[in-house]
């Protein structure tokens, strides 16, 4: 999967990656989703989370926890959440404790992952898979990323970019399994 430097403790992530490297069989799922945030400072709104620009960031402006809500048009399989945060630039605005929740809507969100970042600097990969192979993906209508606390006890938070990944759909519709061998793939489409 994606590279990351895992901290030794369970649930802690240290450091981050400068490059965003994701497996080929994953694709970004949230392009057509509805993004919203619990609060923001004017000029640093939710668009900065999705603009592919690491210089712009979202700054919250309210009480903790700060929430980023992602609502999809239909149930999607998700596997990976990637955040770009930088302790060197944001210091006390850098998120520390993050909880990821999923569900059908605001009324039934359940936490699926809790993580603590320690001085992150770059892309941080948060896998949503469970231990069971049946739990590789989270099949959900809505994802909520909750920032529970920041470094140095900062009140508000900066997040520069968020990306959400899930498995690429089978290019051949109505097929149970994807084809792997060349013989099959050659004959599987007409272009």
């Amino acid at each position: 999967m994606a590279e990351s430097s895992e901290g030794e403790e369970e649930g802690k992530l240290v450091g981050g990656n400068q490059q965003l490297v994701v497996d080929d069989d994953l694709c970004e799922m949230a392009k057509k989703a509805a993004w919203s945030v619990s609060s923001c400072k004017p000029g640093n709104g939710v668009l900065s989370l999705r603009d592919d620009n690491l210089d712009t960031y979202w700054q919250s402006d309210g009480a903790q926890p700060h929430l980023v809500n992602i609502q999809f048009q239909k149930k999607v399989k998700l596997q990976l959440v990637v955040l770009y945060v930088d302790f060197k630039l944001d210091e006390s605005y850098t998120p520390s404790k993050i909880s990821i929740r999923a569900g059908d809507g605001f009324h039934n969100l359940k936490e699926i992952k809790a993580i603590e970042l320690v001085k992150p600097a770059g892309w941080v990969y948060i896998s949503l898979s469970g231990n069971d192979p049946r739990e590789t993906f989270v099949n959900t209508f809505m994802l909520q990323i909750a920032i529970l606390s920041n470094h140095l006890n900062g009140r508000d938070t900066h997040v520069r970019q968020i990306k959400v990944y899930g498995p690429r759909p089978n290019p051949i519709p109505h097929q149970a399994f994807q084809f792997t061998s060349r013989e099959f793939i050659t004959y599987s489409t007409v272009r």
Partner: protein, 759 residues
């Protein structure tokens, strides 16, 4: 002054000096406003890609040729209504279509673009019957799926037709009898020349396609035709009447017909017993034979030709491109002479004519026809070489002497030239028959048959860009990408600057996943021609192979912008939209493709796939069926049709189609796999396992085969085997989703009594 200006303009056109031509024509039109002259000006504009100017000049003109040019300009400017009205005025339904075959062809194109298939077919057929060498019309018929067999189209009737066109009337195709006296021949020739000259009229530079056919019938309107510079077309000229080229030459040159022309003229009478008046003719004949090839002996010839010219000039309504052609004829002549000096008996230009007939398709302008002219009456061993080479003249003197001897043979020569035309015509038609049949079969997707037909071509014709591209396309349709790659590669070597079929080549490389070759091809194509849709299609395929669908889409959209009548670009856009999961736009793109070309089965297939993904199985089945009807041999389409039927729970039909698909292409594993799927649905597990075992042999590294087998064994409660197969499936490194599914299935195996069976 009018004549000088006209000649100057045509000379400039011949030399591709458009600015000069336009300027001169404008002066001409200002001094001597006449419809003929405005036609000439329009031609200049059309040649210079300024269709809009031509449009304005010709608007409202009613001469047949003007209407034709006007329609051309409208067509280029995409004003199809006006083009149609010009060619086929609504209130004069009985008006003749201007320019015969060319007019019908243009009208056919217009009907095709406006979706009136039957009328289009009617007009293309008309065009072909008027001019059997109008290959482009036959091509269009094949694309529309309504072409008759090449053997009938390019058959005996066509042969007669060509011969009539290429021989003076006096000769005709049948009775080239020496009985025709010189005089008789001459007079008939005269007539022939008259009639022929309009025919030789070369029209439009605007229609390069038409040019290919070479010989257009134009309405015998001196004015109109006169304004056409002779380009290309006159390959056919050569046969007939030598006088005509001469006449044209004389007209064009106006003041001093070049000696060559004279030669030609003189030659003409020699071979075809044409000529202005008999007396000069006989002398000419005697003097010119050899010089025909070399036309060197100007002094003597000048006198004779002078007389001939005088006669032919008035006859000639068409102005031939003298300058160039004359020069060409010069060289041609010389080369011809290279053939041999013994023309006394054989000079049957016939053979040359034969070659001549083959030549028109190459559309060589002045050069070729001058060749032809000379050929008449000239012995033609190895005419191909003489034609193509440009040797220097040999000594004229000897020639002239031999000419004298040949004088008397002129009559005989004439008769023979007629038979030469016949031979030539039949050679050409034989070639076109093969090509036509091959093209028709490949448009009907009977690819193996098409390949068998193309193989019958002589080596030198086979190794041309066009034929090799067609071969490549045939292999592509048969899903034999390796062979297709090979064929296209040869095509690129044969004509590295041709873009025809390169979009298909890029798709072949896409399927073969050869990203290096594909990016190289794309780069080359773009550097060759940035404005061709094929180059951008290749570029787009390159990006798509690297999974950068957004950039690929941009490239395909550019291709669409460059030529919205290029169906494949629309289809590729559709594929990219679907890859980006933008189904709405994908559907729109596919529908645009279908609007351009209803027989573009890829677009039907694309729509079927979209609906399959959206689970609208009825629609999906309908679209796959349409694709299947167009291309009934594609096993891929059949297997998808079967999949759609399976989804609609029409399992029996699905199985039938799958069987057909399996038969159609033994190398395609997909129908077998789908058959296994269907068998599982109908709970025929043994059958399914049998099929899957077979598949295992064919594609031992295909994870989905093992996964499906695992599932079946699980259903059968044979847990060990299931476990084994799931394990094998995982070994084949399937995608993450499948890994998850398979692992989940394995987990469930250990709980055999779990009712939940969502596997």
């Amino acid at each position: 002054m009018e004549a000088i200006l006209t000649e100057c303009a045509q000379n400039s056109l011949r030399h591709f000096m458009y600015r000069n031509a336009i300027f001169m024509c404008e002066r001409l039109c200002a001094e001597f406003p006449s419809e003929t002259n405005s036609q000439l000006l329009a031609v200049c504009y059309l040649q210079n890609n300024q269709a809009y100017s031509a449009y304005h000049i010709l608007k409202g003109n009613h001469m047949a040729h003007s209407r034709y040019l006007f329609a051309q300009s409208c067509f280029k400017m995409d004003l199809l209504n006006e083009a149609e009205a010009a060619l086929c005025p609504p209130n004069e339904s009985s008006a003749e279509i201007p320019n015969g075959a060319a007019g019908h062809y243009l009208l056919g194109l217009i009907y095709r673009c406006t979706d009136r298939r039957k009328s289009a077919i009617y007009h293309f057929n008309q065009a072909l019957s008027l001019d059997p060498l109008l290959w482009a019309a036959y091509e269009e018929l094949c694309i529309l799926g309504a072409a008759e067999e090449a053997a009938t189209v390019f058959g005996d009737a066509a042969s007669l037709c060509i011969q009539k066109q290429h021989l003076p009337h006096g000769l005709g195709s049948k009775s080239m009898q020496a009985s025709a006296e010189d005089q008789g021949l001459i007079s008939s020739r005269n007539v022939g020349a008259e009639d022929l000259s309009p025919r030789h009229l070369k029209n439009i530079h605007g229609n390069s396609q038409r040019d290919a056919a070479g010989n257009y019938h134009s309405a015998p309107q001196p004015g109109g035709t006169g304004s056409q510079p002779l380009n290309g077309g006159p390959t056919t000229l050569s046969f007939y009447s030598t006088p005509s080229p001469m006449a044209a030459a004389s007209q064009l040159s106006g003041v001093a017909p070049p000696p060559i022309c004279r030669n030609m003229q003189i030659n003409g009478p020699n071979s075809c017993a044409t000529g202005a008046d008999s007396s000069p003719r006989s002398t000419v004949n005697s003097t010119i034979q050899a010089p025909r090839r070399k036309f060197v002996d100007e002094g003597k010839l000048r006198k004779v030709s002078g007389r001939l010219f005088a006669d032919s000039a008035p006859r000639r309504s068409i102005r031939l491109a003298t300058g160039d052609s004359v020069a060409n004829t010069n060289s041609n002549v010389s080369t011809v002479s290279g053939n041999g000096t013994n023309h006394s008996s054989k000079y049957l230009g016939g053979s040359k004519i034969a070659t001549g007939s083959v030549r028109p398709v190459t559309g060589r302008k002045g050069q070729s026809w001058s060749n032809e002219n000379f050929d008449e009456g000239i012995k033609h061993d190895g005419y191909d070489d003489s034609r193509n080479s440009s040797t220097t003249c040999s000594s004229p003197s000897s020639e002239s002497r031999s000419l004298d001897q040949e004088g008397p043979t002129s009559a005989a020569g004439v008769c023979l030239s007629g038979s030469r035309v016949a031979v030539g015509a039949s050679d050409l038609l034989a070639l076109l028959r093969i090509l036509g049949e091959g093209y028709r079969l490949s448009c009907g997707y009977r690819c193996q048959d098409a390949l068998d037909v193309y193989v019958k071509l002589p080596q030198k014709q086979y190794n041309t860009g066009w034929v090799l591209s067609q071969v490549g396309k045939a292999y592509f349709e048969m899903v034999d990408y390796v062979e297709a790659d090979h064929a296209f590669n040869l095509a690129r070597l044969a004509s590295p600057y041709s873009l025809e079929g390169m979009d298909v080549y890029s798709t072949v490389l896409y399927h073969l996943k050869e990203d290096m070759k594909l990016s190289y091809l794309a780069q080359e194509l773009i550097s060759t021609d940035r404005l061709a849709p094929q180059s951008w299609c290749a570029m787009g395929n390159c990006y798509s192979l690297q999974k950068d669908h957004e950039t690929a889409l941009k490239n395909f959209q550019r291709a669409v912008q460059l030529d919205s009548r290029f169906a494949y670009a629309h289809t590729l856009c559709g594929h990219e939209y679907v890859a980006l999961e933008d189904f709405e736009n994908g559907i729109k793109s596919y529908q645009s493709a279908l609007r351009v070309d209803t027989r573009h089965y890829n677009a039907w297939y694309g729509l079927g796939m979209v609906y399959l993904r959206q689970e609208k199985f009825e629609f999906s089945e309908h679209h796959f069926r349409m694709a299947f009807q167009i291309n009934p041999r594609s096993s891929v389409i059949m297997s998808y049709l079967g999949t759609a039927l399976h989804a609609l729970k029409r399992n029996k039909e699905a199985l039938e189609i799958m069987e057909k698909a399996i038969m159609a292409d033994k190398k395609n594993p997909l129908p077998l796999y789908q058959k296994a799927n269907i068998l599982v649905t109908v709970e025929n597990f043994d059958g399914a396992l049998e099929v899957l075992e077979e598949l295992k042999e064919y594609a031992p590294r295909e994870s989905s085969v093992y996964a499906l087998m695992g599932r079946i064994y699980k259903r059968r409660d044979m847990y060990d085997k299931a476990m084994l197969h799931f394990g094998l499936a995982l070994d084949m490194k399937p995608s993450a989703t499948d890994v998850a599914t398979i692992k989940a299935a394995i987990e469930k195996l250990h709980v055999p009594d779990e009712i939940e069976d969502n596997l």
